[in-house]
Symmetry: C2
Subunit: 298 residues, 2 copies
């Protein structure tokens, strides 16, 4: 292999030594983090259990563009690191917590998604257990807050003609934090013509959410909804010791549906969790067994 020479008579080592990068345009590459947690609501009735809510961490922009609106935490990838390492770095800077579940989501590349310059966003999904979440710090410079996430399908239209099927779905994303309400609408058009499929995503409204981050958050919620059903990913949103009711609430808040207790326990409780010796107490009702994650070693 060392002896191979190209049409200029150079070996690979010689070629690389002489290599000069061309000066064609290169994009900046940022990582944007969709950091979810599942936090308890406050419950006044001491006998009733709190409910879970899906939260996402946003940061208020202190400069242009999108000054004053809310954005996903993120930053630029540096030349000596992978996007995963950049994501890990941003994550510990932002939350102060190490060892968080991290998964690459999607690379968004619309050339005008950042009005300043050509910036691609390699987005990451991170899941953090709510007990580790530091109380939303009203830091001096950057204000970071956890927003309750709601993603609903607003409308679904299907246009069918002889050889064109068009499926238009509109999603509405609402983000709430005390008196702040942000919202965004994403329209997904799926076109099938002949043997071809085309998916188009458009942001048709973005209210207080910076860049294309409404789209990125919607995408992250959809990924979470899908993966929760066939992986143990939800266990990353729950403390080390947890009750099965808690876990069920996490599933419910992600999927947006109510689940029935008995089959949920048979399926996920038995498959993903193992009972510990501990129980809850002081609850105003029968105490509940605490479970731990069962590491799948199949």
């Amino acid at each position: 292999m060392e002896e191979l020479r190209d049409k200029n008579g150079l070996t690979e080592a010689e070629y690389l030594a002489a290599y000069k990068p061309g000066d064609y345009a290169r994009p900046s590459v940022a990582v944007d983090m969709v950091i979810f947690s599942a936090a308890d609501t406050k419950e006044e009735n001491y006998r009733k259990l709190p409910q879970k809510e899906l939260k996402v961490l946003l940061i208020q922009r202190g400069g242009h563009p999108y000054l004053g609106t809310w954005a996903l935490p993120g930053g630029f990838v540096e030349p000596n690191e992978t996007t995963e390492q950049a994501a890990q770095r941003e994550l510990s800077e932002e939350t102060g917590v190490e060892n968080i579940y991290l998964e690459q989501l999607y690379t968004f590349s619309e050339p005008n998604r950042d009005p300043r310059t050509w910036v691609m966003s390699c987005s990451y999904l991170a899941l953090i257990d709510s007990s580790k979440v530091s109380v939303s710090a009203g830091d001096d410079a950057r204000r970071a807050e956890w927003f309750t996430v709601r993603l609903d399908t607003v409308s679904k239209k299907i246009n069918e003609s002889s050889d064109l099927i068009e499926k238009i779905t509109e999603y509405k994303l609402v983000l709430l934090c005390e008196d702040i309400e942000l919202s965004g609408s994403v329209k997904h058009t799926m076109k099938r013509t002949g043997a071809g499929i085309e998916n188009i995503y458009e942001i048709i409204e973005s209210n207080g959410i910076a860049f294309d981050h409404a789209r990125i958050i919607s995408y992250a919620v959809e990924r979470l909804r899908g993966k929760v059903q066939y992986t143990d990913i939800a266990l990353n949103l729950v403390p080390e010791y947890f009750t099965l009711t808690e876990l069920q609430q996490v599933y419910e808040v992600i999927l947006g549906t109510k689940l029935i207790k008995a089959p949920f326990r048979r399926k996920y409780g038995a498959m993903l969790c193992e009972p510990s010796e501990k129980t809850t107490s002081d609850a105003g009702h029968r105490p509940s067994r605490l479970y731990r994650r069962k590491w799948l070693t199949e």
Copy 2:
């Protein structure tokens, strides 16, 4: 919103007009295409049916680095296009076929994955029906060939200690095209320490496959294996009119297992396909009904 001014007293329009991109390093971003098809093997016995094989399109490198080895088709993303558009462009250049199933896979970003310079690869999965595949053209400059794909799990080790679980899986990828045999080994280490999970992928051997493309191809096969089970993605590998046995073979070759006919037909045949009036003929046995894709409009 127009009236908001930042700490320098600028409106957003003024800020953007004055904006100068910094001169920090930017990566090149390439798209690499994993183009799969499912082609029939030759069968001498006229009564027997041909088998399907999973194929991937590779191009022999005509220059350094990795001169003479085989690489995924791909190219650089240009400033006025999305990665999807770049992928679409590469795809029609390479195969001459429009309207192909296309899906973003993963963005690989190890800083040294290209020995020349900092290049990220945004990889795409494309599925093309074998009847559209032009016979592997021995073009003048770039030699392109379809390689039969085989991905096996070679070994699986689990190290469990008190608070560290390590799962090491080794995959072996073999690519065959007549007398050419390429191979690669990818090692996946999953470490769980405390609440943290770390996934490390290493290429431990690459025989005739350029860059980190052995890893990208392995990733694509795994994605395909996963998605085939809960989507209609496999129908993109089959012509407009196809038999259910053909479709079953596609599933079998992707999953690497044999499936039982009756339940396969009940599940996928009824759900994803609709019968046409046509049948096969001249087969040396009972003719088979030809089906078409049923577009899912739920």
